[in-house]
């Protein structure tokens, strides 16, 4: 183990509280710990100095160890061309402007997930703007639980802004409920917006959050301050959030459903509080069997 003291924290003025709070003590299995990324940097740098950051998140992920913090510096932009497994890492964007993250990631794959969370180590994705797909893509932007060995995967998402456009043929966030390929275990989403940015009814994104229903479903989904916005033309799936037959628990507080986004709660147990909003959003909840 290696104990790192950051008396002034990560040192950012804006962004997720993980990069603005101070002091910060970090205890890690390896001695590097905090990696820096900005597209003006270089992947030939060591990435351990904020003034000599890596150029790509992909490179940072390739060298980081479980539990490490990867700081995407203010204004970083990146187009991903292969699936990036961020399991066990803390990926945090610095900077905010007009209430949104300034770090932007875009997926440019036809059938590849952008970010993948597997394994049982806790993962965090904080204060990142994920833009609509660059090309037609049949895979989720973020999938939680997806390996060929049944176990639970855990993820916290906070302060993100996720756009889904005409090329988003799959859901933005996929919570795996398949006993054969691994479950989403504990998933927490806070202060995050998922919005349809489509401009035509003929080319809508699929949905914001989807849980497949072949097995147990996510064990526990906690949301607080989740906004799912139908934008101008909404989603192609009837429900923007769709627990399709899954079992599990949900504690959803402070959900906003502007512009008619709908929720299908499936057979989940728990509670849901929806804030007043414009549009005719509806909630469908299937009565679970004992």
């Amino acid at each position: 183990m290696a104990l790192i003291s950051l008396p002034h924290g990560i040192g950012e003025a804006l962004g997720d509280q993980l990069v603005t709070i101070a002091p910060l003590l970090v205890n890690l299995t390896e001695d590097q710990g905090v990696w820096w990324v900005h597209h003006t940097g270089s992947d030939t740098y060591a990435g351990l100095d904020r003034y000599k950051p890596f150029a790509t998140l992909a490179n940072a992920v390739s060298v980081a160890s479980t539990g490490d913090i990867i700081v995407l510096l203010d204004g970083h932009t990146e187009t991903l061309t292969s699936v990036l497994s961020i399991s066990g890492l803390n990926v945090v964007g610095a900077g905010r402007a007009s209430g949104k993250p300034t770090v932007k990631l875009t997926n440019n794959q036809a059938a590849g997930r952008m970010l993948l969370v597997t394994g049982s180590e806790m993962t965090q994705l904080l204060n990142v703007w994920i833009e609509e797909q660059a090309v037609d893509c049949t895979a989720a932007k973020l999938q939680i639980g997806a390996v060929d060995a049944p176990h639970y995967s855990h993820c916290r998402i906070r302060g993100c802004y996720i756009e889904c456009g005409a090329h988003d043929l799959a859901t933005a966030i996929h919570l795996s409920g398949d006993a054969k390929i691994g479950y989403a275990g504990f998933v927490e989403i806070r202060d995050t917006t998922i919005i349809s940015t489509a401009t035509s009814r003929e080319a809508q994104p699929l949905c914001a959050v989807y849980c497949d229903g072949t097995g147990v479903g996510p064990h526990l989904l906690i949301t607080d301050g989740l906004t799912v916005d139908g934008g101008t033309v909404g989603w192609s799936n009837y429900h923007a959030i769709d627990f399709d037959g899954a079992w599990g628990h949900v504690w959803m507080e402070g959900v906003s459903l502007p512009h008619g986004s709908d929720i299908h709660m499936g057979y989940t147990w728990g509670h849901l509080n929806v804030q007043p909003s414009d549009g005719g959003g509806r909630i469908d909840w299937d009565e679970a069997l004992l």
């Binding site: 993980l18 910060l24 299995t29 479980t66 049982s120 628990h249 147990w269 728990g270 509670h271 909630i283």
Partner: protein
């Protein structure tokens, strides 16, 4: 099972946001049971104007996912452990920054609240007073048995006092045959209310030697030594927060406050991060 819609929520003006937000929709086993000491255990408890009198009775009437609402000002002495088993225990009402619902444990060798099942449970906006008599057990214990996924417990907005009779910790992580899952603690204070150096409470939170916790999340948690602090039989440093006994896969500890010199041992095998707010007193953190 039942799906119930509350257009105006639970309907409380103050207290945890789950009691004040609206509208609210829930899928439950039985429903919402109201508790106040001026009520009667002969009531069904489903009507806030006819609450049951005791938490124990409310627990008997509820199942997985159900909500037990302790109405503002409810006070009760607990004489037998209440196993939450996937329930939401919520206190209504706050005054002066403290929850107005007050529970006191009155057992010589028993916990007040336990989480024994794999179903996620919550304890929200409750003031747990110091023990009424010498008690070697923790106030809150999670879990007491193992499960396929392990337990999840969220504590939010609580105020937990530990005094001269608290020979066990305020919260014990582990302590059974199996592992804990995740524990999340938000906007909660653990305070030593001892009035003599000769009779100190054990500590605020301790991690049992049988535990392998997957994750401990804290945000806005205060550890306050009060005038005399803690005893902590595990360590001579007398930690308020002692996670040294066993590994925790991941610590996400943000905006912690250690007042009046409260100390923490985060355990040499525990990975993660901690942020401590400036405070008075000489609190220290040991993490090697």
């Amino acid at each position: 099972m039942a799906i119930i819609n509350w257009p105006h929520g639970i309907g409380e003006a103050t207290g945890d946001k789950l009691a004040t937000c609206s509208p609210l929709e829930m899928q439950l086993t039985a429903g919402v049971i109201y508790v106040h000491h001026t009520g009667s255990d002969l009531y069904e408890g489903t009507d806030r104007t006819a609450p049951v009198a005791t938490l124990g009775q409310a627990n008997l009437l509820t199942g997985v996912g159900d909500m037990i609402v302790m109405l503002s000002g409810h006070t009760e002495k607990i004489a037998a452990a209440v196993d939450l088993e996937g329930k939401i225990l919520i206190g209504a009402g706050t005054s002066g920054g403290f929850p107005t619902v007050q529970l006191t444990n009155d057992q010589a060798a028993g916990s007040m609240l336990t989480v024994s099942s794999t179903y996620p449970s919550q304890i929200l906006n409750v003031r747990l007073k110091e023990e009424a008599q010498d008690n070697s057990e923790p106030k809150i214990r999670v879990p007491v048995t193992a499960g396929a996924f392990d337990s999840y417990l969220r504590i939010r907005g609580c105020y937990i006092e530990c005094g001269a009779h608290d020979l066990g910790p305020g919260l014990l992580l582990g302590g059974g045959e199996g592992d804990s899952g995740f524990v999340e603690i938000r906007e909660t204070t653990f305070i030593s209310t001892a009035t003599s150096i000769a009779a100190l409470p054990l500590c605020a939170i301790v991690c049992d030697s049988t535990t392998t916790l997957l994750g401990l999340i804290m945000d806005g948690v205060v550890f306050d030594n009060g005038p005399y602090g803690w005893y902590d039989a595990l360590n001579t440093t007398r930690y308020a927060l002692d996670l040294s006994a066993r590994p925790i896969d991941r610590l996400h500890l943000e905006r912690l406050t250690f007042s009046h010199g409260a100390d923490a041992n985060l355990g040499s095998h525990n990975a993660g991060y901690v942020n401590v707010y400036p405070s008075y007193g000489g609190g220290r953190i040991d993490w090697v």
